[in-house]
Amino acid sequence: MPDPLIRIENLYKVFGTAPQTVMDRVREGQSKDDILAETGHTVGLKEIDLTIERGQIFVIMGLSGSGKSTLIRHLNRLIDPTEGKIIVGDVDVMQLDQKELQEFRRHKMSMVFQRFGLMPHRTVLQNVAYGLKVQGIAKKERETKAADWLETVGLGGYGKQYPMQLSGGQQQRVGLARALCTDAEILLMDEAFSALDPLIRSEMQDQLIELQEKLHKTIVFITHDLDEALRLGDRIAILKDGELVQEGAPEDILLHPATDYVEAFVKDVNRARALTVENVMKPPVSRITTDTIEDALKQMKGFKDDYGYYENEDGYQGIVLQETLEKALKEGTHKQIRDDMLEEVPLISPDSALEEIIPETLGADYPLPVVGDKGELQGRLSRTSLAEVLGGE
């Protein structure tokens, strides 16, 4: 059930001395470079329409200079649009006056920055409590709360340190704790992990996912790293030169890139890690749902395979071969499909990443059955479809 929290409608941003004067050129579709050369104005964003659902991690991705930071800064109006609407919940952000905007920023959204944005003259604890201090919350209350959040991000003992005394990863944890400390519903994260070492970055991603499972915030996450986007994103939007080129679920982006630009982006992704079985499995057409050998053979003829996935009320049971069935029919000793007629093949779960099931899939003679938690057959995964997806074409 869609539950939109943030809506961006027809958003344009032009940087320069007289943005309105070049809006016509922008709408006519003149390129960013031409407009810059001819008028000295930079097109930051062009015709952006986006809906972000409550509780999602919404990733905005693009190369450097594609307008990601500009876009996220419109959500809390650190940047004012040249044209367009931003609606958060039932608030039209553009209609807020200075005071209302301050209140909105204090309670609705918090932000995590690429270079952390911590105040070097305040202790870690004071940094975490900053949002509450701005709200005018008493010192004792805000510092108690800040200490709890520091504990949550794993920096319990660091409250009295100054930010400069911490490593990059630790500093960003402070940034995260500061953002969580105000209990804002929306978290804006502008390349929050981009400045960190790969190992620390992946730790932070884990931590974010773990926190999100508990907190169910709406997170707008910016990155230029597709692996990160695929790992975190429930939805991914891709920006190029200020324009939205594609928006969709991670597997959509990977499997159906909308433009050459997106394709170039996804080309180098480790698909085996990024995609799950569910994303690439085929529907289980060769399904045997009867328990007599004769009917089973009939069903098998219907889908032109020499094997089938045998399923009864208890769910998936195993693979039966045409050969076995015919032999049993000839011998005529019994009419029912029996357990000893089933081929044992590994089952795979729809949630597994492809890289986990590569060996099983390649080693199997038949497409492997994809079986859900309740034992039900959800699909099948063949060697060829795996090779197709991982091969990239």
Partner: protein, 299 residues
Amino acid sequence: MADSSWLTEFPAMDRRDLTGIKKTLDTAYREFSREYGDVIESLFDPLLHFLVWFEKLLIQTPWWIVILVVTAIVHLSARSWKLSVGVIIAFSLIGYFGMWDNTMRTMSIIFVCTLLSIALGIPIGIAMARSDRVQAIVTPILDVMQTMPAFVYLIPVVMLLGIGKIPGVIAVVIYAIPPVIRLTNLGIRLVDKEVLEAATAYGASPSQRLWSVQMPLAMPTIMAGINQTIMMALAMVVVASMIGVKGLGQPVLKSITNQYFTLGLFNGLAIVALAIIFDRVSQAYAKRTQKHMEGLHNA
């Protein structure tokens, strides 16, 4: 002949017209000062009272208490034994060579001028940092203040207020205030954009931003400005003594007119000693307040 002489000689204004202009302006200003001089002077009365009171306080307090207090202040702000011992030696020598009272007078005027410069300069600097317009207006004024020979603006000040402490203070402040203003402006403008943005993103109001982010982060730069201001105020002491500011400047002035080299040297050295003390103390203090900026490696 007369027609083409402008080629070889600059076609200057007629000498009589020029004199006329000068005379008119001078007369106008003289009348202005006659009319309003007293009113303006009375505006400065509270300042004058404070100045006199503070100077008396320094001079009348027994010398060893002064040394004790100054050393205590120095030690509290700089936490350096070397500097504290240096202060005691310097003040003892100053007293021994008979320059105690003048040194107290100079210290008091420098103190007041510095306070005034900070009190006026920081708000002006903040205003400049907030608005490019204000910056565009103030910058050229500061340029003029710093390059105009001090004697030139001494004239109207003296015409308006006569000779004495107040015109001296005004002259010193005019001369010494630009660094505080400039460096306050610069310091605020150089504050890390992302930190300021973070404050804004968490809903800080403009004044919360100023006091919780901009001023604290600009403080090292502002302190450098204050330090320069103190140094310039000290340098101005000799010039200010020409318009009746008592202190170490006067003996220096006297030694120039009478060619007393040793007198000049001693008083000059006393000024240098004060300068070094003020400088080290303000720098050490600034450095101590920035301890948290030290990174992992030297923590």
